[in-house]
């Protein structure tokens, strides 16, 4: 598989590590890679073209500041330009000045509208709202039933006067829903509609009729994060048909880069407001567009990782760790401690997936939390002296450790070897100042 954009750019610029200004030739070489990265992330090819044009304009002649390599400089510009397009921060859901607020969900078949409706309703409950789910998908067999079951799970009432499965009038249901909300004191209506194709004029007219009936505050287009080039056509058609006000990006928990979000934002100007990231009803949250930039470029979601780390990692311990790192007095004991901290941050595969450049390397490699368990067992089978100074590990000690931890001597050897290598790298890092470290972690 392909490397992350930053790796590829590093390769290109490996020989051009000078200062001065970025030349046209340098920029063009870099932009070829940027273009590939964006296309591989499913950004629409026309959007890519415009985007690359804008970056080129900015990058040629740009001064390469002393602290950055040319590659980092280009990435910085690309990243800034991405954020300028996607938006700086989350755009919140708009509520009607006079309740009820009506949120209409629309989208293609299978984009995840019904599930998303329930997730949104549950999210609204956590924000102290009183939502009502409205079942206007009368097309797909058992869609109404699905919403009822999900409503039950989310503890949100469902307005479903029709059984659906091809019968009933969704516009009438939509009309009834407003009255029902007023009657039962519900302040947000979440309206689920049938999936429809961008080219299906009849169904699009029906969506418009539902919209006219409920007068929504928000019309949210549910888009599958795995969508390819077609995202543009879909978004434009729905914008024309029902005047979309925002987007929900669904199924973002897979390994798709989610370039569709950039395409949609570029051609419609509508922001992504929410993202769904799992099969549980709670896997739904406000979307942070700036964080998608790194993902589109294959650079991991460092901000989320940092946020999670801040929540779980003990501050004092981290400071202690930093000091040890600086003095290169890092022992197996610290390594064990480190592992346990990382474990608290979530499943290993998820945590690693968020690190820049890591998701690609991990493809194919099976990461398992049981690997951590094994490493823990090995270290815990060592004496304090051995943990502090692995050099004293001779053959018989290793054999004892293997027996004690239920592993093999080879596995113990491998761990010690890896630890040695890690320590060597840390020594190099220790030479850097915190600013530089920070940049490595934060720039992308």
């Amino acid at each position: 598989m392909f490397d992350s954009l930053s790796d590829r750019l590093q390769d290109i610029f490996a020989k051009l590590r000078g200062h001065g200004r970025l030349s046209e030739a340098q920029v063009d070489a870099a932009l070829r890679e940027v273009r590939l990265a964006l296309l591989e992330a499913d950004v629409n090819f026309r959007v890519v073209k415009d985007f690359v044009g804008r970056v080129r304009e900015r990058a040629v002649g740009e001064e390469v500041t002393r602290s950055l390599t040319p590659a980092q400089q280009v990435i910085k510009i690309v990243h800034e330009e991405l954020i300028a397009t996607l938006g700086e921060r989350n755009e919140p859901l708009v509520f009607a000045p006079r309740p009820p607020t009506v949120v209409l969900l629309a989208g293609l078949q299978g984009s995840g509208k019904t599930t998303t409706a329930a997730k949104l309703a549950r999210w609204l409950v956590t924000k102290h709202r009183r939502p009502l789910l409205v079942a206007c998908d009368l097309q797909r067999p058992a869609a109404v039933r699905q919403l009822q079951v999900l409503g039950e799970q989310a503890k949100v009432p469902v307005f479903a006067p029709e059984d659906g499965s091809g019968r009933g009038d969704p516009v009438a249901v939509a009309l009834g829903a407003r009255a029902e909300a007023e009657r039962t004191g519900r302040d947000v209506l979440v309206v689920d509609t049938a999936g429809r194709l961008a080219v299906d004029a009849e169904m699009m007219a029906q969506a418009a009729a539902i919209k006219d009936a409920v007068q929504p505050t928000e019309v949210l287009l549910v888009v599958d994060a795995m969508t390819g080039q077609d995202a543009v056509q879909t978004a434009l058609a729905f914008q024309e048909g029902v005047d979309v006000t925002g987007v929900i990006l669904s199924k973002l928990d897979g390994d798709a880069r989610g370039g569709a979000a950039l395409s949609i934002r570029s051609v419609t100007g509508r922001p992504v407001k929410f993202a769904t990231t799992g099969e549980k009803l709670a896997d739904f949250d406000a979307f942070h567009p700036d964080r998608l930039a790194g993902r589109i470029l294959g650079m991991g979601d460092v901000l989320t990782l940092i946020e999670r780390a801040e929540e779980t990692v003990d501050r004092e311990r981290a400071e202690e760790m930093e000091r040890k790192l600086r003095q290169a007095s890092f022992t197996l004991e610290d390594f064990l401690d480190q592992l346990q901290q990382v474990k608290k941050m979530g499943p290993l595969s998820q945590v690693l997936g968020m690190l820049p450049g890591m998701s690609q390397q991990l493809r194919g490699a099976e990461v398992d939390d049981r690997d951590i368990a094994r490493v823990e067992a090995i270290i815990q089978s060592m004496t304090p002296r051995e943990r502090a100074n692995p050099k004293i590990l001779n053959g018989s000690r290793r054999a004892r450790i293997a027996r004690g931890s239920g592993t093999t001597t080879q596995q113990v050897n491998a761990l010690v070897r890896q630890f040695d290598e890690a320590r060597k790298m840390m020594k190099q890092l220790a030479g850097m100042n915190p600013k530089k470290l920070r940049r490595m972690g934060l720039r992308m």
């Binding site: 591989e40 992330a41 499913d42 090819f45 026309r46 078949q109 299978g110 599930t115 067999p141 058992a142 039933r145 699905q146 079951v149 194709l197 961008a198 080219v199 599958d224 795995m226 969508t227 390819g228 080039q229 077609d230 897979g254 390994d255 880069r257 569709a260 799992g278 099969e279 549980k280 940092i306 801040e310 990692v313 981290a318 760790m321 890092f330 390594f335 480190q338 990382v342 499943p347 595969s349 945590v351 690190l355 890591m358 991990l362 194919g364 490699a365 990461v367 939390d369 049981r370 080879q410 491998a414 761990l415 070897r417 890896q418 890690a422 790298m425 470290l437 490595m440 972690g441 934060l442």
Partner: protein
């Protein structure tokens, strides 16, 4: 400071992972595992059944030569008339290959014409790697003075889509091997349940008795959806409660289908992202149980949504690795999406498209027609420009 911790974590973990990948002589620890990271509410922990041998994909589902060919021609006609595909795609077909027309008019050394051609392929989700290679080959042949570029590109694409056997391996099943089992898999929302329903109808119209297994026990009301399809097409549906072990549903459905001397068992499974290890393990178990009880599967169909972009390749790879996909069903091809990712899937993994979904009607499932597909791929949508 936190960053420093992360950097250390990264450094510490990378070798860990790498070390594992380049694993040594350690005996393969592929024990029958509990599903790993417990992050899914709906999947009951897999019981540690002893691993019987898991057959490799190559060993199964390969249609055994001549015996299927004539019969399948007939089947192809019966699922839905062939013209359906062309009819449905006709709307965009009239504008066939403006890019190519431009190329012919302006000559092969016009760079912007080549660019247009490249964009047409990219716009269809064919993917950068495949597009670049196709264009390179075409350029070489154009330089060599080949005559008709339009025909050449069509030929290249047809070649890329492949000419594998696209028929379902469901005809002339010996009585002892009945029912022929078809496992339907894919990520969430691609149209697995709908495909099962439509396929059941097509098979029953061919006179094959079909049983449906509602092994999607996770999604709310997925079973009801399949039951409604079963009523519509007159096929029996074997179901359990929501949250039940899908492998148990498959097991019961197979026993039931066998008792009824049914010809085909269609197993609908829950949508799952290919990145979720525990859910993929659950699917592996479904397959294992079906094979242990009923011998090799006839078909494992991966349902791909035509709107899917480059992630489709990752999906196909992972599902193939887990359950040995034998064919693709490309759904929602009646929209504006071209489904070009299947070109990449065919090229990289050699998995042919067998069926296409062309609409919401019960009859809107058609055999794949490579020529119509390629023509539509190159046609420019009026809405796109």
């Amino acid at each position: 400071m936190v960053v420093a911790v992360l950097v250390v974590a990264a450094i510490a973990l990378v070798p860990l992972v790498r070390g594992r990948r380049g694993a040594d002589s350690r005996p393969p620890a592929v024990l029958d595992r509990e599903p790993g990271v417990g992050d899914d509410p709906g999947s009951p922990p897999a019981q540690a059944r002893p691993v019987t041998e898991v057959a490799l994909p190559d060993e199964l589902g390969q249609p055994g030569g001549a015996r299927t060919i004539e019969a399948d021609e007939a089947e192809v006609e019966e699922i839905a008339p062939r013209r359906r595909f062309r009819e449905r795609l006709g709307r965009s077909r009239s504008a066939f290959s403006r890019g190519l027309a431009g190329l012919l008019a302006r000559g092969a050394d016009d760079e912007s014409a080549w660019e247009e051609l490249e964009e047409a392929l990219l716009a269809a989700d064919v993917g950068v790697a495949t597009t670049t290679e196709l264009i390179e080959r075409l350029r070489r042949r154009a330089k060599a003075g080949a005559a008709d570029l339009r025909e050449l590109l069509r030929a290249e694409l047809l070649d890329a889509v492949g000419s594998d056997d696209r028929s379902l391996d469901l005809d002339l099943i010996p009585a002892a091997e009945r029912p022929g089992v078809v496992l339907v898999v894919g990520v969430n929302g691609t149209g697995k349940t709908t495909t099962c329903g439509k396929l059941a109808l097509a098979l029953s119209e061919e006179g094959k008795q079909t049983v449906l297994a509602a092994a999607d026990t996770f999604r709310a009301a997925a079973t009801e959806q399949l039951v409604l399809w079963g009523e519509r097409v007159g096929a029996q549906v074997v179901r359990h409660q929501q949250g039940a072990d899908p492998a148990a549903v498959a097991f019961d459905a197979l026993a039931s289908a066998r008792a009824k001397h049914a010809d085909v068992l269609l197993v609908d499974t829950a949508g799952r992202l290919h990145t979720k290890t525990n859910l993929m393990e659950e699917l592996r178990k479904v397959r294992r149980v079906l094979e242990r009880e009923g011998g090799p599967l006839r078909e494992v169909l991966l349902v791909l949504d035509a709107t899917t972009g480059q992630n489709g390749l990752a999906q196909a790879k992972q599902f193939t690795e887990t359950v040995g996909v034998t064919g693709l069903v490309l759904t929602k091809l009646d929209g504006t999406a071209k489904g070009g990712i299947v070109v990449a899937v065919q090229r990289e993994l050699g998995i042919p498209v067998k069926l296409v979904g062309l609409g919401e009607g019960a009859h809107d499932l058609a055999p794949f027609d490579p020529e119509a597909f390629v023509d539509a791929l190159l046609a420019e949508d009026a809405s796109a420009r």
